[in-house]
């Protein structure tokens, strides 16, 4: 009942906000009614999906994992939808627009994380866990401390990632529709809470599938239009971009972002192993039936993301080649001068959006803007659900209630957590309005690579891991990655205003990730307690289940009991 009245309220509130504030919209071009219309259609479609999924959220398995009944292809698309955030679509095409080839390497780093997820994580995770990745990490270790560390790591990652997405969403909507930043962030926040508490994983999955299909179609359409402009010759496109770009031919060569080896490797580590530690991605392996289905869905996801890696540079270079020749896309100073990167209306992040207008007028602009918005909605819904399940399943259900909480109570806690996480994220996104989005997302990936990934990998692959080691390693990685980011140039100098950075590199992963592994190892081998001996002993049973888990369905309860 509450859900229905909320839905009705939303339907009325949203268009009126959009229309009331629509007057000064979209830079110099006036309100984009087509864009607003398409945007409303997408919101309406996702609301219908949520409405239809509402029945599936009454059981724990239904709410967290859509009843483990999503097919591999659907799950692959949803996983790609979870991963291809606004940072990927708008952010990386903007990086290509501003820096050329470097942006492409960034995309390559994101993609390289996927085979690692497939080879090392997906199948074992599915065989060992059922709701959150902490299930697999705590399989043979002590429940309370390991789950607390895993859930804290998840929550930190989810919050940083959410703030980054919400800031991005606020900026996009502010530019496109002229809505105030706070209303834009609030609107996205209300929608994401609604999807999660009413529709659970079922609705979240279908919102992600819808978004992934829209994004792939929209990206293809835009890339084809751009390539058509250059007679389908990639060489001509690159030539045109380098002849008009202020950095000239340098955009075709790797440059600043990856020039210095230590920073480059550190960034590479965060990009590659961060993916394998993102809680909302790891959670997607539990929505399918078994390990074989988890494996297939990672393949579909990788194929979609790889395809996107081909499209993104085309969009970025085409935006440079086409937009930089046309002053109407820039904030031109009175003297007639403008900076071809910084003065792009709405900032370089809007490069693909402006390219859509240049290629297909208001109609394509409306479509691509709506796609960008759907992209953000799907990612924030997935993140909120991952955060809520970390609180309700790991902290409340397993730690506070000792695994004895009733399903109904645990579901109630997770819905309350979803609201709380949404509110906190909206408040933080409001407070950090002018924070750099890429930095927030980078911080989330660094924490994921330094806390979640080492704990999970060591617990699953190394016999010697004990509870003491996993907890020490997780805390070391979490603290080191956050502290080093605060001491780096991006925060210490740019935000806090100190003259020089105490930590010379932007990305902490090169230090914090090995540190986490070292701590897991050190505090495990020195652990001589009886409990540690039992945990090493239990590795054999965990190993058997992680290898043939679902094939041994008949012996499952026995195996789980052996491990606890």
């Amino acid at each position: 009942m509450i859900a229905r009245s909320l839905l009705i309220a939303l339907c009325f509130a949203f268009p009126s906000v959009a229309m009331a504030q629509g007057a000064p919209a979209a830079g110099a071009r006036g309100p984009d009614w087509i864009a607003i219309g398409m945007f409303l259609v997408i919101v309406a479609v996702t609301l219908v999906i949520t409405w239809r999924s509402a029945g599936s959220t009454r059981s724990k398995a239904g709410f967290y994992t859509a009843g483990h009944a999503i097919t591999p292809l659907q799950n692959g698309l949803a996983t790609a939808g979870d991963f291809l955030s606004a940072a990927a679509f708008l952010g990386i095409s903007a990086l290509v627009y501003a820096n050329g080839f470097d942006g492409f390497i960034y995309a390559l780093g994101f993609l390289t994380g996927w085979p690692i997820v497939l080879f090392l994580m997906s199948e074992r995770m599915r065989n060992l866990g059922s709701y959150t990745f902490a299930d697999a990490a705590a399989f043979r270790l002590q429940r309370t401390p390991v789950r607390l560390v895993a859930a804290t790591g998840s929550l930190v990652v989810v919050l940083f990632y959410l703030i980054a997405q919400l800031i991005g969403a606020g900026k996009v909507i502010q530019l496109l529709f002229g809505i105030n930043y706070i209303f834009a962030v609030l609107g996205v926040g209300v929608l994401m809470i609604f999807y999660v508490i009413v529709g659970g994983m079922q609705a979240t999955t279908w919102v992600q599938i819808t978004k992934a299909v829209l994004l792939l179609c929209g990206g293809t359409l835009l890339a084809l239009a751009a390539l058509w402009h250059f007679d389908f010759s990639l060489g001509r496109l690159l030539g045109a971009a380098s002849s008009i770009h202020p950095k000239g031919a340098a955009i075709l060569v790797p440059g600043g972002l990856f020039a210095e080896p230590v920073s480059a490797i550190s960034l590479g580590l965060a990009l590659v192993f961060g993916t394998a530690g993102l809680p909302h991605i790891l959670m997607r392996f539990f929505t399918v039936r078994d390990a074989a289905a988890a494996r297939k869905s990672v393949f579909y996801a990788t194929a979609c993301i790889a395809y996107f890696c081909w499209i993104i540079p085309v969009l970025g270079f085409a935006a440079a080649a086409i937009l930089m020749a046309d002053p109407s896309y820039f904030n031109v100073a009175a003297s007639g001068q403008f900076n071809k990167i910084a003065d792009l209306i709405g900032g370089p992040n809007m490069a693909s959006i402006h390219l859509a207008h240049a290629m297909g007028g208001p109609l394509l602009l409306g479509f691509i803007s709506a796609v960008a918005f759907a992209t953000i909605l799907a990612v924030v819904a997935g993140l909120t659900l991952a955060g809520a399940s970390a609180v309700s399943h790991d902290i409340y259900g397993q730690v506070l209630a000792g695994g004895k909480a009733s399903e109904a109570r645990e579901l109630l806690v997770s819905k309350i957590s979803a609201v709380a996480i949404g509110v906190v994220a909206v408040l933080l996104a409001y407070a950090f309005e002018n924070q750099n989005v890429a930095f927030m997302a980078g911080l989330a990936l660094s924490v994921a690579a330094s806390c979640n990934f080492p704990v999970l990998a060591m617990a699953m692959f190394w016999r010697g891991t004990t509870t003491r080691g996993a907890v020490a390693g997780g805390i070391a990685g979490l603290v080191a990655s956050v502290v080093l980011v605060v001491l780096s140039k991006t925060v210490w100098v740019a935000v806090l205003g100190f003259p020089t950075a105490l930590f010379p590199y932007d990305n902490p992963a090169l230090i914090s990730m090995p540190l986490a592994f070292l701590f897991v190892w050190l505090f495990s081998v020195t652990d001589r307690s009886e409990r540690a001996a039992r945990e090493r002993e239990a590795f054999a049973a965990q190993f058997i289940q992680s290898e043939i888990g679902t094939a041994l369905a008949s012996e499952r309860p026995a195996l789980a009991a052996a491990a606890s």
Binding site: F101, F104, I105, L108, G109, L111, T112, W114, P115, I116, L118, F119, L120, E123, S233, L234, G235, R236, L238, G239, A249, L252, V253, P254, F258, A259, E260, P261, A264, I265, G268, V272, A292, R295, K296, V298, F299, T302, A303, A306, C309, W310, A540, A541, F543, I544, E547, I548, A551, L552, S554, E555, P557, A558, L559, A561, A562
Partner: protein
Amino acid sequence: MPQLSPDRTRQILADSAFRELVSGRARLRWGLSILTLVMFFGFIALISTAKAALGASFAGSAMPLGFALALLMVTAIVAFTGFYVLRSNARFDALARSVNRELCR
């Protein structure tokens, strides 16, 4: 609650089909992981050491060599994941099923 007895655990671990499954999958898993990581971090090393060479045009076309390499890597990554999934579907799923049948007897 019934426990998986230490004897039973030892029995499964010693089973020849189980060992074949585990060692075969471990070879594929670690081999492909190392290949992927060497490829990506090798490319990053190449950038910091041989930047100029990557800017040279590739086989007479307008496309720089680094660009062609990056596109090739995207393709290779999809090929690796595809290979892993095909191998697993064809070989390891069947092995896991046969281990299961044997153990349930």
